[in-house]
């Protein structure tokens, strides 16, 4: 998978690149609008990460340019701007997702995966991991081809864990992912433990391998031994 990251904050760009690289992801960095436009005219990407405030122009110009060239790349805006107007304008100009800074890299990663899935597999939304198979449309999970009883939230958690395979996920990152809009008001992460425990038990009951590892003091990790 080829990603283009348009971000002028070098430190943030490097961190994103470090997190995303591996697992068949290649990340290219660009720190200004002009080079970005040059790049998108020449190459095709699976996903573009776009910061709106660039030293030589507005990120919206890049969206317009993509439209003008009839490019169908999925675009995720990553911006410090959080007003509804900016969001709406971004979506109207063809962005697929909007992530407000600051965000967890794990969150960005699952959003990229979700976007690529939507773009590439038009409707056939199956995520598979060894003996686990998740159907995103019907919201069902099968372990060894046997359907298991699982809540929507647990599917969400499962996708988040699998998406960030082999990466340590802090409790706060999981809490923020699960609470969505409510995250800004929430200062309690106890519910993460309950969700992880439930998911673990359900997978165990279905004779699934125990992929969820506890990382001491920090959080959890989905690990394929």
């Amino acid at each position: 998978m080829k990603l283009l990251l348009i971000e002028d904050e070098q430190e943030l760009a490097n961190s994103i690149k470090t997190y995303l690289t591996g697992n068949s992801f290649v990340c290219e960095l660009v720190d200004n609008a002009k080079t970005a436009i040059d790049k998108i005219s020449i190459y095709d990407y699976d996903c573009i990460l776009l910061d709106l405030m660039l030293p030589d122009g507005n990120g919206f110009e890049i969206l317009k340019e993509l439209k003008r060239q009839n490019k169908t790349e999925g675009v995720i805006i990553i911006s410090a701007k959080e007003t509804l107007e900016t969001r709406i304008e971004g979506f109207n100009l063809g962005a697929d997702d909007y992530l407000t800074k600051p965000f967890h890299l794990s969150e960005l990663f699952v959003r990229i995966q979700a976007l690529i899935r939507r773009k590439n597999f038009k409707g056939n939304n199956l995520v598979a991991f060894n003996e686990i198979e998740i159907d995103l449309l019907s919201k069902t999970v099968k372990v060894n081809t046997k359907k298991i009883d699982i809540t929507k939230k647990e599917i969400d958690l499962l996708l988040y864990l699998i998406g960030n395979e082999n990466r340590v996920l802090s409790k706060s990152a999981i809490a923020e992912h699960l609470s969505g809009d409510m995250a800004d008001m929430l200062d309690n992460q106890d519910f993460v433990y309950a969700h992880i425990k439930n998911l673990k038990n359900k997978l165990k009951e279905a004779c699934c391998n125990d992929y969820i590892k506890t990382v001491y003091g920090l959080g959890y990790k989905w690990q394929n031994d």
Partner: protein, 421 residues
């Protein structure tokens, strides 16, 4: 007790008029009387000189009865040794009116053909007393009219004069620094009021610009913090991927991670507050509160599970209010999470929704909270508690924006936050 400005001046005027009338009436009467008696006395003395000059030299003792017969008010009487020119009050019986009337009388010793006699001249005081009374009454009437006139004119004039002042006053009363309605002062032709208006205008302008600068500062600061926070967050997310940490280092990372999350939340809430102050959420819609509460009910139930809380609801069906939908959701979530956060284990949360109010009651600490500090930013009632001290300030701000009233009460071990709309 405060009174109106006009009331004060009127009171002074009335008091002055009454005192003036009370004091001036007897004084005036007394002075007029004195003046008149002096006048009468002078007339009497003049009569005496006329008598001495024109009548006495030719008068004989034999003519005295005749003289007395034809002169009613100038008489020659047997010598009474009354000294020279004694003037005094005397009363005579008037046969015409059949009553005793007051007179002013002058007695003087004279010699007629070498014999001593007493010359007596008198003037009736009745008519003059009437005249005097009339003058006094007239005078009093004029004074009264003058005072009443003055009073009325001043009152009318004052109302007109103070009109610009009252206009300015009502403008200032309507002024709110966080709203964009600047007061407009109308130019008057009175210098003092123009000065007043100008200084208030200047004051308001200055304060508004300071307020705006502060507001912008909070917003800009919160905004500018987002990028470094994003870098911070991303670095930690990457850092924790290393697998060779000691337990001690994991602990440190964990606490670092929690602090960044807290900082993020704090910053987002500050941004939310300043956005609300910038009137970004001004467009309102009709919202069904039942739906808004039920929308995230699962989430709240999940949160309540950690403390094993019982959530009870008493909701009237389809309660609709006008608000910005995003803000209404934030209000409900904040109140709900507040009731969960400050609860005790195995406690209760009671959600009551009626047509005019929404109340979240929860068990919690056994003392009542300090109500007047609750809704102020960063004034946490219990510093050891979690939470960033902005939740209730946000709730208050949202209530204010919708003209709702938020109140806190503590009864039967339940802390209640109620929004009246």
């Amino acid at each position: 007790m405060t009174k109106k400005l006009l009331h004060k001046t009127s009171t002074v005027y009335i008091l002055f008029s009454v005192i003036l009338l009370i004091v001036s009436a007897p004084l005036f009467y007394y002075v007029t009387e004195r003046l008149y008696i002096e006048e009468t006395d002078e007339t009497l003395i003049l009569h005496k000189y006329e008598f001495l000059k024109y009548s006495l030299p030719t008068l004989t003792t034999a003519e005295i009865p005749n003289w007395n017969k034809y002169n009613r008010n100038n008489k020659i009487e047997p010598f009474k040794n009354s000294g020279n020119d004694t003037i005094f009050y005397n009363s005579y019986y008037d046969t015409l009116d059949a009553e005793t009337e007051p007179y002013r009388e002058l007695n003087a010793s004279i010699l007629i053909e070498g014999y001593p006699y007493t010359y007596s001249a008198r003037i009736n005081l009745v008519e003059t007393e009437d005249l005097m009374k009339s003058i006094a009454i007239l005078f009093l009437v004029i004074i009264s009219l003058l005072l009443v006139g003055l009073f009325v004119i001043t009152k009318r004039l004052s109302i007109n004069l103070w009109k610009p002042f009252y206009k300015t006053l009502s403008q200032i009363e309507k002024f709110e620094i966080d709203k964009s309605n600047q007061p407009i002062f109308i130019e008057t032709n009175i210098e003092e009021f123009n000065r007043l208006n100008k200084s208030i205008e200047k004051l308001i302008y200055k304060n508004t610009s300071i307020y705006n600068t502060q507001r912008e500062f909070v917003e800009n600061a919160a905004h500018e913090l987002q990028t470094p926070l994003a870098v911070f967050q991303a670095k930690i997310d990457n850092l924790i991927q290393n697998s060779d940490f000691t337990q001690e280092q994991y602990k440190m990372l964990s606490s670092l991670n929690d602090s960044v999350s807290r900082l993020n939340r704090l910053n987002k809430n500050l941004l939310l507050l300043s956005k609300m102050e910038n009137d970004i959420y001004n467009e309102k819609q009709t919202i069904n509160l039942n739906e808004a509460i039920e929308k995230h009910f699962d989430f709240f139930t999940e949160q309540a599970k950690a403390k094993n809380l019982i959530i009870k609801t008493e909701m009237k069906e389809s309660v609709a209010v006008k608000s910005n939908p995003a803000l209404a959701e934030i209000l409900i979530s904040n109140l709900f999470l507040n009731a969960i956060r400050h609860n005790v284990n195995d406690g209760q949360v009671l959600v009551t929704l009626s047509n005019h109010s929404l109340t979240f009651s929860n068990t919690g600490q056994s003392q009542t909270l300090v109500a007047d500090k609750l809704f102020i930013r960063f004034s946490k009632s219990n510093p050891s508690e979690q939470g960033n001290g902005l939740g209730l300030a946000i709730i208050k701000k949202i209530a204010d924006l919708n003209n709702w009233k938020i109140s806190y009460s503590f009864a039967n071990n339940f802390h209640s936050f109620s929004v009246a709309f």
